[in-house]
Structure formats: C-alpha cells, structure tokens
C-alpha cells in the first residue's frame, strides 16, 4: 500500500487541510483517520482483505456489477477527483477506497484469485496481465498496491506498459498505478526522468487535448514541475523520504527554497519509521551534502549558482543539448562536416561538464564528467544524423547524495600520463631492445615526456643534451663524430622491413578510415582497447571510479517500437533462459526521449556485416577464418557456435516479430562471432514503404549457412534443433510476450 499516501495523513487528518475530505461527510472523515492509523502499520494485510472482498463479488456475479459496488465506485471517484491534482493525497484516496471496502464487508472468504495473488508464483508479469485485463476496480487497486512488493527492477521492465495503461486506459487503472509511480519518482531521479520521457512520448500520438491526454501530461508536468520539488529536492539531496513539511503542497515548495538541509530536520522524527523500501537517512548526510555544495561553490564560483538546481534540470539539459546537436547535424550535407561539427559541438558541451547528469542506459549510478569529443562518430544514415558518443562517468554509490565531481582541466592528463606507460604503446619494445641489444639505450623515451617545471620553462637549460637522461645517450650522440672509437652496431635492412610488416600484421585487424563511413573504424576497435586509450587520454582517467559508457543519440526516429522490440527480446531471452534453450540474443537498452528522438545503448565490439564486407572484401566465412583462425581452432569453433546460437535466436525473433528491412547494415557481428540484429523500425505488419513484398520469415543467407558449416554440417542441424526448441519454449510462454505488445497497442499507432 502506498507509503506516500500514508505519510501525510497522520498529520493531515487533524491539520488545516481537511477540506476535500470534508466534502464527503463526517463518516468518511472518521473512516479515513481510523483506516489510516491502522494502515500505516498493517498495510498489505488491509489491502488484501479489501481485495479479497471485492474479488469474491466478482466471482459471484461474474460480469454483472452489483449496484452497491457501482455506487461505491462512483463515490470513490467523487472522492478522488479533487485530489488528482494533489499528488500527496493520492495515496490517501486509495487508502480511503480500500478502507471503506474493508469496512463494508469485513467477513471475507478466501477466493481462488486471491490465493493466486498471494501465492509465490504471482509475479509481475501476471500482475500486469491482471491489471490490464481485469475490469474490476478492486482487482486493479489491489494490484496497484501489490506493485510496491515487487522488486524495482522487475517493475521497471514493465514501466512502458504501466504508463501506457495509465495514459490510455480508464481511470481505475490509472488510479491504481499512480501512487506507485509517484512513490518511485520521489525515490529515484532516474525513474522520474524515465517516466517523464515515456509519458511524453506515449501521449504524443493522441489527438489534441482529450481528457485522457491531459491526464498523462498532467502527471508528466507534475514530475517535471516544481510542485514535486519539495519531496524531490529532498530525495535528491538526501534520498530520504520526508513528508512535506507544510500542510499543503503549494506552500511546501517555499520550505524547500529556504534552508533545505535544516528546515525539515524536525519533521524527520515525525515520519513513520516503517518504510517498505527506503530507510531514512540521518541528518549527517544532509549536512555533508550541503557543505559539499558550498565547497563546490567555493572551488568553482563561476560554475555554481547559489541555489540548488532542480534535480531533473541538469539531466534534461544534457539530453536536450545532445538532441539539438543531432538536429543541427542533420542539416549538414556531408559525413565529414557532420563529424567535424559533432566534435566541436561536443567539445563545447564539455565545458559544462561534470554535471549532475547521467546516462539512463547505464546500469549503475554515476555522474557524467566528460565527453571525449574526438572519439565521437556519426553513424551511417541517409538523411538523419544518428551519432555515437562515448561518455566518461564516475561511478558513485548514490547519485543523489554524491557530489558532482570537480572539474579537471583537459591538460591535466600530462601529470597522470607518465613515461612508464609508454612502452605499452608499442608492442615491440622488448623485441626491439632485444634485437639491438648492444645499444640498450637507443630508445630514450624520457626527454620529450619529461614534465618540466614551470620554473624550468623560464630558465631554459643551456646544455645541449640535458634532456636526455643518461650519460650513455649523450655519449652515443657524440659517437657519431668519433665512430672509430666505438664498436659500430650493424642492423639488417631486411629486419627493419620485416618488423614493419609484422607489426602491421599483428595489430588486430582494424578498418580503414573511410570518410563515407566514419563509424566503421571506431566500432571495430576492441572495446577494452578503446577504454584503455580513452582512459589514458582523459584527465579523469586516474580516478578509480572512472568508467566509460557509450550511447547512440538518434534524432528524427521514433524509438517506441525499438523499445517494444527490446522488451520482447528481453522477455524471449528470459523465457529461453528459463527453459534452458541455449539461444543467444542481445537486447540493447532504449531510452525514448520523445516521439522522434531517443538514445540507444550501442552493442560493443560489433560492426555491421555490411561494413565487414566493404572493408575486408571477404566472404563471411573467410572473415571468420581471418578473425578467429582456422577451422579447427578453439577460437573458430566457439565463434561458430556463438554464431549458430545467435543466428537461431534472431531468426526466431525475426519470425515472431516479423522484423523487416533486414539488410546487412542492420545485422551486426560481434568479436565473439555472435550476430546481433538492430533496427526494429519495421516489425509486426509494418514494412518499408517501397519494400512491401518482403515475405521471407527470416533472413538466412547461404553465407550464414557457410559459416555454420554448410547444409549438411552438424552445426546446421544444431541450428535447426535450436530453432525448434526455442519456438516451443516461446509458444509455451506466449502470454508473457503477447501481453507486452497488447498493452502497448492501447491508444498508439503501433501496428495492430
């Protein structure tokens, strides 16, 4: 049951704000106080009882709604109506609802449905399903309460469904869902952002300002607005849930403005200690983060304004600037110009970092500290300009309480990068020294890398070879003139030439730089290699919490279908895992920003088959042989197995989702041999306009079969077997997949 609802009531009941409740008459008021007092302690139990009673009715009457119930629903609605605007009381409304029911029919019997709901088997998937299918407000309310009991990650997966139901289905469903959403928004700024973005994107298909439309946007506005700020600001700073200190939500915003740290300390004690999900934090944390804010102000006065910025504002601005970069890029004609512009725009963006911003696609809490602008690439697209950026972040334990890292100027890398790291750059250091063993000091790396002091810069060193560190190298310089005195060292020209070709051969096959396809090189570079390289070049690289993330920013594309595809893929993945079918698919995370923009988590270490063919000019099989070694090598065999498992997985996905537009540019191959399908822009019954006749169920070219070892090979049989197993497993859990799609059909223009 909604904690958020329960919190304010102990104080609010007798407080100055009984007005909306007063409308319902004295009885209801007394019911509220009674119910709430109890609820705060035995929350789920009450809810269950309430549900139980309603469910029984459902069972008895099955379809025909009893008069009393309808009347009650009506009453409840009246009761809710004025409170919709005041999110703080939302929970209270629900409380009232359930409490009333409980009172009305206290003697409840066990029902089968309730037994199901209470059983361990009842999972979030079922909850969503019942929430969607049940037309009974009581069931919906019960499930709305039950949402609090599920793990956050589980519910998060169904967030698009929940919000879509909230927007597009009737009010009972919405009312059931809302407390949970509000509760979670208070807790997590990331969740707030995702909700706000999704609400915006999912409502965008609707006709202008229908009643329901305004309901979705209303919640969105609520999340983004200052109205939520009191609790959100606290949540952001301390991550502790304080009840709004003042009686009305409007006045509480002023409380947040004035001394957020101290003002509410007194109320901490008042807030009920029973928290289902969140422990309250001590005041110490508050003072720490407050002082840290001050500290940051002191260290960087230009960057910090005196007022605490809204918790979502930096992130939204970050996203917004990425999107507007994408929009501006789209106006440029050539890839080259796009890339240049991208790099320079990002370098300007860098000036504003670090900031209280994060990448929603990441799996851990962090602050964005830098965008290594020179690494960004424009991806292949005809008229739009999706681009891939790498983002340096510092991991933190808690986004809200952690301080935004201090800015380190770009050039600070000099001190972190030292001469010792250098030999790693060239692989042949040892080898060369070995071959030149007579002159061990030929490779005197220090002089250009020595970090000389500022003092030294002024007073230049007069000696000629002062910078070369040791005597031997000085001696060796002289030795040119006095050669007879030393034993000359001879080297074979052939060795030099050989080393050159060997070194080039040994470097992992990289792609040529192609102005028409700037992303190929960047994507081909092994991820670990890239991380190491960027870390070396970053002023933040020395920090232990440094991480590199990457993200694709897409403008002008509707990613809602991609999100749907991600969910389906994820569901299939878990089904196959549950059924122990070794199919491999890689669902990549999607962040829908609006109906025509979003972010995608890139698949690392993967390039498209199109790029492979263009760059290597080999058949797929030959490329496998080149990358992984000969047929019987361990590495080739495992790559082949990966290929088969992923190919079977994606063939099923393509079949089930009717994925169209499967050209080689949309199929990636990763370094381990997996194929990964991307771009689910045309799924179910939609297809590219000019290619409506795409009939094949999935794409399996003879090249793919070749990699599997031909039509008669064992691997191909394995492939067929996997397909069958996978299909059976998917059929078995069909509901879980269908449900995802079904709910999203509501009110959207997704293909039916």
């Amino acid at each position: 049951m909604g904690d958020s609802g329960a919190d304010p009531d102990p104080r609010r009941g007798p407080g100055p704000d009984p007005a909306p409740q007063g409308n319902n008459g004295g009885t209801s008021l007394s019911v509220i106080s009674e119910g709430v007092g109890e609820l705060a302690l035995i929350d789920p139990e009450v809810a269950q009882k309430a549900c139980e009673e309603v469910l029984e009715k459902v069972k008895l009457l099955h379809g025909a709604v009893p008069n009393g119930d309808a009347g009650e629903g009506c009453e409840i609605r009246c009761l809710d109506e004025p409170r919709l605007r005041e999110e703080d009381e939302e929970g209270a409304a629900n409380t009232v609802k359930t409490a009333r029911r409980r009172q009305k029919n206290n003697s409840a019997k066990q029902s089968w449905l309730l037994r199901l709901f209470e059983s361990k088997l009842f999972d979030i998937s079922m909850a969503i399903s019942y929430l969607y299918n049940s037309k009974e407000p009581g069931v919906q309310a019960y499930i709305g309460n039950r949402l609090f009991c599920f793990r956050h990650e589980d519910v998060d997966f169904y967030l698009p469904q929940l919000l879509n139901m909230y927007i597009h289905m009737d009010e009972d469903v919405g009312d059931a869902i809302k407390p949970y959403i509000v509760h979670r928004c208070r807790q997590s700024v990331d969740f707030s952002l995702q909700c706000a973005l999704l609400l915006g994107a999912l409502s965008s298909d609707m006709h202008i300002s229908t009643q329901r439309h305004s309901r979705g946007t209303k919640l969105r506005r609520l999340i983004l607005s200052d109205e939520l700020k009191p609790s959100s600001a606290q949540g952001q700073q301390r991550r502790r849930e304080l009840p709004p200190s003042s009686s009305s939500s409007s006045s509480s915003s002023s409380a947040a403005v004035g001394a957020p740290g101290m003002g509410q300390d007194g109320t901490t004690g008042l807030s009920p200690s029973k928290r289902t999900h969140q422990r309250s934090k001590s005041d110490a944390t508050a003072s720490i983060s407050l002082s840290s804010n001050l500290k940051r102000t002191a260290s960087n006065p230009k960057v910090e304004s005196d007022e605490e910025p809204a918790r979502l504002a930096p992130e939204r601005e970050f996203i917004q600037s990425l999107i507007s970069i994408g929009k501006r890029l789209a106006t440029l004609p050539t890839k080259e110009q796009k890339t240049q512009r991208l790099v320079s725009e990002l370098s300007l963006l860098n000036h504003k970092l670090p900031a209280r911003a994060w990448l929603p696609t990441a799996g851990f809490e962090h602050h964005v500290v830098r965008v290594p602008h020179s690494q960004a690439v424009v991806l292949n697209s005809k008229d739009k300009a999706p681009y891939l950026i790498y983002v340096e972040v510092l991991e933190c334990d808690n986004f809200d309480t952690a301080n935004v890292p201090a800015r380190i100027p770009e050039n600070r890398i000099r001190s972190t990068r030292s001469a010792e790291n250098l030999p790693e750059v060239g692989m042949s250091h040892e080898q060369r020294t070995g071959s030149f063993s007579t002159v061990p000091n030929y490779d005197n790396d220090d002089e250009a890398w020595s970090v000389d002091d500022i003092g030294e810069l002024q007073v230049e060193l007069p000696e000629v070879h002062t910078n070369s560190c040791d005597n031997i190298s000085q001696f060796s310089v002289d030795s040119i003139t006095s050669q007879e005195s030393r034993e000359p060292v001879f080297i074979a020209a052939g060795d030099i030439r050989r080393r050159l070709s060997e070194q080039l051969a040994h470097t992992p096959t990289s792609f040529r730089r192609d102005p028409e396809d700037p992303s190929a090189v960047a994507l081909k570079e092994p991820w670990q290699e890239k991380v190491r390289r960027i870390r070396e070049g970053s002023p933040y690289g020395h920090l232990p919490s440094w991480r590199l993330l990457s993200v694709i920013v897409k403008c002008g594309d509707d990613l809602r279908q991609e999100l749907l595809a991600f969910q389906v893929l994820k569901q299939l993945q878990s089904i196959w895992e549950q059924e122990r079918v070794p199919l491999w698919i890689k669902p990549y995370k999607i962040l829908v920003i609006s109906a025509d923009s979003g972010m995608i988590e890139p698949v690392v270490n993967a390039v498209s088959i199109h790029q492979i063919k263009k760059q290597s000019l080999l058949s797929l099989l030959d490329y496998f042989l080149q990358e992984h070694g000969n047929y019987n090598t361990e590495s080739f065999l495992s790559a082949q197995r990966n290929f088969v498992q992923s190919c079977a997985g994606y063939c099923l996905v393509c079949y089930l989702l009717q994925v169209k537009d499967r050209h080689n540019g949309n199929i990636l191959l990763d370094a381990e041999g997996h194929i990964i399908h991307i771009d689910f822009g045309f799924i179910l019954s939609s297809s590219p306009r000019n290619l409506g006749f795409e009939t094949s169920a999935f794409k399996l070219t003879s090249e793919f079969v070749d990699v599997m070892g031909g039509l008669d090979g064992d691997m191909f049989n394995y492939y067929k077997m996997l397909m069958l197993q996978g299909l059976i497993a998917a059929r078995k859990h069909m509901d879980r997949v269908v449900q995802i799609v079904e709910i999203m059909q509501q009110g959207s223009q997704l293909p039916p």
């Binding site: 304004s305 020179s374 960047a522």
Partner: protein, 689 residues
C-alpha cells in the same frame, strides 16, 4: 569655482563662440607651464582642470617644445599635475576620470618624446618626483586596476588600457622603461585576466589586453624576475585561457581574411601576368606583393602563451567557428559556456546558434588551424624584415608546439581530422592546388605540409638559413614523437623526401655563394639525419611496408644528389679548412644512404641487363628493392631521435629584443590621438551628467 564656471557659461552664450571655452583649458595649461604654483591664485584650479575637455595636441606640443632644462624648472608643477591626475582617477564623476586619464597619456608621452636620451630615472623624477614616486605610482596602478575590474563604462576601461599601453611603449626598448618597475611591483595581471575571461569585456578590450600582456611579459625578461612571466605561466583557468585564445584567433583570422580579399582582388591581375611572365622565378616577384600589415604583437602574445603556459596548449585545439566568416560584428562570439548544466532553462539550447552558426559552409576551426593558415601566408614571402620576423616567430611557435606532448597528442589524433587550406605560393612550375578537394586529415599533416611548402618555396639567393634549420627541426621533432608513440601517420612522405632531396641539391649547386654566409653543413646534416631516421626507425612509424620500399626507391632514384653531397663533404673534410669538422659529420651521417645506393644500384643494373630493359619502371625497381633487403647491412646511428629542446634565453634573446622593439614602436604609432579622443566618451557621459 562655481562662479568662474557660471561666467564661462555666460560668456559662451553671449559671445556665441566655442573659443573662450577652448581657450580656458589652454590657459590653464599655460598656467601649469609657469614656475608659479597655479593653485596659488585659484585654490580650485585642479578641480576645475579636470572638468575641462583635454586638449591633447596642445599639451603634448607644449611639453615637446620645452627643452630639458626648461622642463626641470617647471618640474614641480608637472609633478603636481601628475599627482592630481592620479587623484582624479578616484573621482566619482566619469568626466574627471576620463580627463585625468587623457592628461596622463599626454603627459607621459610628451615628457618622453622630449627626453629620449635621458635615463628612465630622470623621467620618473620629471613626472612624479623621486620622493613621491613609489606612492604615486602605487596609487595610479591601483586606480587603474579598480577601473579595469569595476563594472563601469567600457570606454573608460578602454582608455585605461590605452594609458597602460602608452606607458609601456614610450621607450623603444621596453627594458629601459624604468617606470615599468612600478607596474611590475603593482601588478595589474589579474585585471588583464579578468578582461579576457568575461565575454563582453573581451570583445571590447581583448586585443589591447593581450598586446599589453605580451609587452609586459617582455620587460627585462632575461635579467630579472618578471612577475608577469611567473603569473602567466601558472594560469589554469580555462575560461581565461580560452578567452585569450579567442582574441588571438580572431586577430589572426582577421588577417587571413584580409589577405584573402586582397588576393581575390589581385587574382585577375595574376593570371594576365602569368601569361607574360617568363624567366622570373616567382610570379609574386614581378607583381606587386599582396601585403597586409602583419601583426607581430598578437603573434608575440601567442608565442608567450604557448611558451610559458602549458595549459594554453589545450586552447590551441579548442574548436571555434571560423571567425573570418562571421561578418556581423554585432553578434560577437559568445563566451565559451561556463554555466553549469541546469542553471539555464532546459528549453533553450545549450549551445546557442550564435555560437556555432548553422551555416554549412562554415568549417569549424580552431586556433591552431587559424595559426597554420596565418603562417602559410606570412611565410610565403620573407624578404621584408617584418615578415621575416613574423615567419621566424611562427616557426618558433611551431617548434614549441612540436615539442609539447599534449599538442602532439592532438596533432596526431586520428579522430580529429580537419581540412586546412594552406596558402600556397603561386609558382611557375605548378598550378595552384584546388582548395576544395583536400582530404580531411589529422592536423599534423597540415603542419608537415606547411614545412614541405616552406622547403620548396624558399630556395633562393637570399637563403633564409635560420628558418630552414627551424623548419627541419620541427619535422624532426614530429618524427621523434611518432617514433616514440608508434604513430603510423598516413601521410604522403614522398613529398617530404623529394623536398628534402631538392634542398640538398640546392645547397650543393649554390655551395660557393652559401658557404660565404652560412654553415650549410648543419642543415645538410639535419636533412641527412632525417633520412637516417626514416631508414633506421621506419618500422616504428611508417604506415605501410611499401612506404619503406618507396623510401629506398626515392633514395636510389635521386642517388646522384647524395653522391654529389658525399664527394663535396669528403673534399672539404679532407682539406684542413674551416669546414673540416662539420663536413666530416655529414660524411659519417651519409654512411647508410651510401650503403643503400651502393647495394641496390648494381642489383638494379643487373636486373636491367638480365631482363634487357633499358629503363626500369618504378614497380620493377621496387621489386628489386624488395627482394634484396636481406643482404643489406646498415649501421645503427645513435642520437637520431634526440633533439635539443627549444631554449629562448640562450639563443633567441636578441631576436626577441628586436621584435619587442619593433612591436613597441608599432603600438605607439597606432595609439593615435583619435583613439584617445573624447568624442565618443563625451557622448557617453553627457547623458549621465
């Protein structure tokens, strides 16, 4: 005073002429130029003086007209005037401040112009008086500092900077300007930084501030501890450094733009001239030079920033839109954003369109690109002394850049590709390369291109030896970085090789002429060692095995040059002459190249004989080269990847002294009266008062 003022006002109205008012200030000046204390008869004399419009010409002329002794007589009054000027700087009313500033300018200039020969101490005595000098100057600097930092009128600030520039440039040799000691003690460095860090004031005064800073840094650079040097070298505020970079970039790109405009003007002339041109080496020689006044002051500022402040290196790569193309002066380049995310409403774009104009033609640029373009223009013609200085300074800056690790990192960054349109001198034997089809490459390619361009275009009788040495050094330093970091740059090395070989050829064919003036062997040694670097360490930085083959091909193809060089240095090293030592160094350095030539030439000849081909194609030669590597032994030469780091104090002091002198003169010349004139100021303040 009120009475006199009223009187003046009445007079003006009644007699309807401006003259009496104008005369008033002149009369007051005349009073100062007597031995009497002007405040004796009029106790409010000084207060009144600063309400009068300054007559700069008269005041300065009057000062100049007096000779030393006469001046000494009225020293007390001058001191008094000076002190009262300083007092007036603290006044609330801007008119007084403006007048005081202008009077100070005139005073300082007038006294100096008269007394060029006298020592700095006398001048201090003349202006301020020894006894009060310290306090007075302290007050002056403090007032200027607070005026510059205050949120006051922009034209007032501008005038302050003008006064400072005036003070700094009164002597030709800045180090002899003793009065600057007080500027050293009472630093205004922070005020200059503040101007550079805020976008508004930078736009207005950035140029003056940067020039002032560059000059101050050069005051007694080598003799004493100059606080400006120390302070400049430790600045790490990004906004300030970027601001400085933007000012410099703006000035340089303005020059580039002007040059381009002029060039286009001349274009038609060129092509008609082209047809008539026979026999002259450079077309530009015959035609009138497209010359735009070079801006050494800005270049000096860039040099000091790059040389002294290692944080400034990052600014070089900082992107900014091509400024020359941003025509509207009303929409100046906004400050690089420093506000944190979240302080501006999210609805507005973070990067406003003004910052990066949405124009497809505008190529994003950075300071380094602008500088390279500028260098390519300046280095085209080194005959005139100013340009020679500028060209040399450009090369010195590039030397500093080529030695810097961070700079090298972004120069060689494979992900930062730019298209840099260098200006190429139109020459008889080549067409002007079309600008448009340049590939986008890492910036180091542009640097190398610039060096190659310099090498091929300056083989002339007036051989710029010094510049050539610097040029080869830059290439060498870049190669050292590449070798060290295993950077395999995809560059057409062949162009560099053939340019270097042609340079050797030129040195030999003009041996007698050049030897009279220069030690050509140092240059020859450096060139040969560049080749040695490629030969011995090519495996670490050449892009492909075939580029190594090409190197051999090029050496073999041009073997005549190396043979000639060898015979020349051998001849000179065996003679016990002046050049014995340097020449013998070159003979030793040539050992590998000679080994290559002696190894492959017979092989090629026999290949030709066996296959009955008179002239081998390139592919055939390469084939021979490839198949005969293994029998060739090379000698490992040491120290090829060592270089001497750039050092200003010991080698360049004289150059910078001379440069600063010419800059001082130039700045002084440009500090014309009209820039100090009151018209604008009066307009501005008339509304306030």
């Amino acid at each position: 005073m009120a009475q006199t003022e009223k009187k003046g006002g009445l007079l003006r109205k009644s007699s309807a002429s401006k003259k009496p008012l104008k005369e008033k200030v002149v009369l007051m000046y005349d009073e100062i130029f007597t031995t009497e204390d002007p405040s004796k008869c009029n106790p409010r004399f000084w207060e009144e003086l600063f309400l009068m419009k300054v007559n700069l010409e008269y005041l300065e002329g009057k000062l100049e007209a007096l000779d030393g002794e006469e001046l000494m007589k009225i020293k007390d009054n001058i001191n008094c005037l000076f002190q009262h000027c300083i007092q007036a700087l603290g006044e609330e009313h801007p008119i007084r401040v403006v007048n005081a500033l202008q009077t100070l300018c005139a005073l300082i200039r007038g006294v100096h112009q008269k007394n060029k020969s006298t020592s700095g101490f006398d001048i201090i005595n003349m202006l301020v008086g020894f006894d009060k000098a310290e306090l007075c100057m302290k007050n002056l600097m403090e007032s200027l500092d607070s005026l510059l930092c205050a949120e006051g009128s922009e034209s007032l600030k501008s005038l302050c900077l003008k006064l400072l520039l005036c003070l700094v440039t009164v002597t030709d040799n800045i180090s002899q300007n003793t009065i600057l000691e007080y500027v050293m003690i009472n630093s205004i460095f922070e005020a200059i930084l503040q101007i550079l860090s805020s976008p508004l004031s930078r736009r207005e005064h950035g140029y003056d501030a940067v020039v002032l800073l560059a000059l101050l840094v050069n005051y007694r650079k080598y003799e004493s501890v100059n606080p400006y040097i120390v302070k400049l070298s430790i600045v790490d505020d990004e906004a300030t450094l970027n601001g400085m970079g933007l000012v410099i970039a703006q000035a340089l790109s303005e020059y580039n733009r002007q040059y381009k405009d002029k060039e286009e003007e001349h274009q038609t002339g060129f092509f008609s001239a082209l047809t008539n041109m026979v026999g002259s080496m450079f077309i530009a020689d015959a035609d009138e030079k497209i010359s735009v006044q070079t801006n050494e002051a800005i270049l000096l500022a860039l040099y000091e920033a790059v040389h002294l402040n290692r944080n400034f290196i990052t600014v070089l790569a900082q992107s900014h839109p091509e400024m020359g193309l941003m025509t509207t002066p009303t929409s100046p380049i906004p400050m690089t954003p420093v506000t944190p995310l979240g302080t501006t409403p999210p609805s507005s774009d973070v990067i406003s369109s003004a910052e990066l104009p949405l124009d497809a033609d505008v190529q994003t640029s950075n300071l380094l690109i602008t500088f390279l373009k500028y260098s390519s223009i300046v280095m085209q013609d080194t005959k005139d002394e100013h340009r020679l200085h500028s060209g040399k300074l450009c090369l010195i800056i590039l030397t500093c850049i080529a030695e810097d690790q961070y700079a090298n990192a972004f120069l060689h960054d494979d992900n930062m590709n730019f298209r840099v349109n260098l200006h190429r001198m139109p020459m008889r034997h080549r067409k002007k390369a079309a600008d448009k089809n340049l590939p986008c490459r890492p910036l180091v390619c542009a640097v190398l291109d610039l060096m190659v361009e310099f090498i091929v275009t300056h083989m002339m009788k007036e051989f710029p030896m010094d510049l050539y040495v610097r040029c080869i050094q830059i290439v060498h330093k870049l190669l050292c970085y590449q070798k060290k970091c295993r950077v395999r740059l995809h560059y057409t090395w062949r162009e560099l090789w053939s340019a270097l070989i042609n340079l050797l050829k030129f040195l030999m064919s003009n041996e007698t002429v050049l030897l009279a003036k220069h030690n050509i062997f140092t240059l020859a040694l450096m060139v040969v060692n560049l080749f040695n670097m490629f030969i011995t360490y090519g495996d670490t930085f050449l892009p492909t095995p075939s580029s190594y083959d090409e190197l051999y091909y090029e050496i073999i193809r041009m073997h005549q040059n190396f043979d000639n060089l060898y015979s020349m240095v051998l001849r000179l090293s065996t003679n016990a002459g002046q050049w014995k030592e340097p020449a013998s160094k070159v003979t030793h350095a040539l050992v590998n190249i000679r080994a290559i030539i002696n190894h492959f030439n017979p092989k090629i000849e026999s290949y030709a004989a066996v296959n009955h081909i008179s002239q081998l194609s390139e592919d055939q030669v390469l084939e021979v080269v490839r198949s005969n590597y293994d029998t060739l032994t090379l000698k490992l030469q040491d120290g090829l990847d060592q270089y001497e780091r750039y050092s200003e104090q010991h080698k360049e002091a004289a150059f910078f002294k001379e440069l600063v002198r010419s800059i001082s003169i130039n700045v002084r010349k440009n500090l014309a009266f009209n820039t100090l004139s009151q018209e604008l100021l009066l307009k501005e303040f008339s509304t306030i008062s």
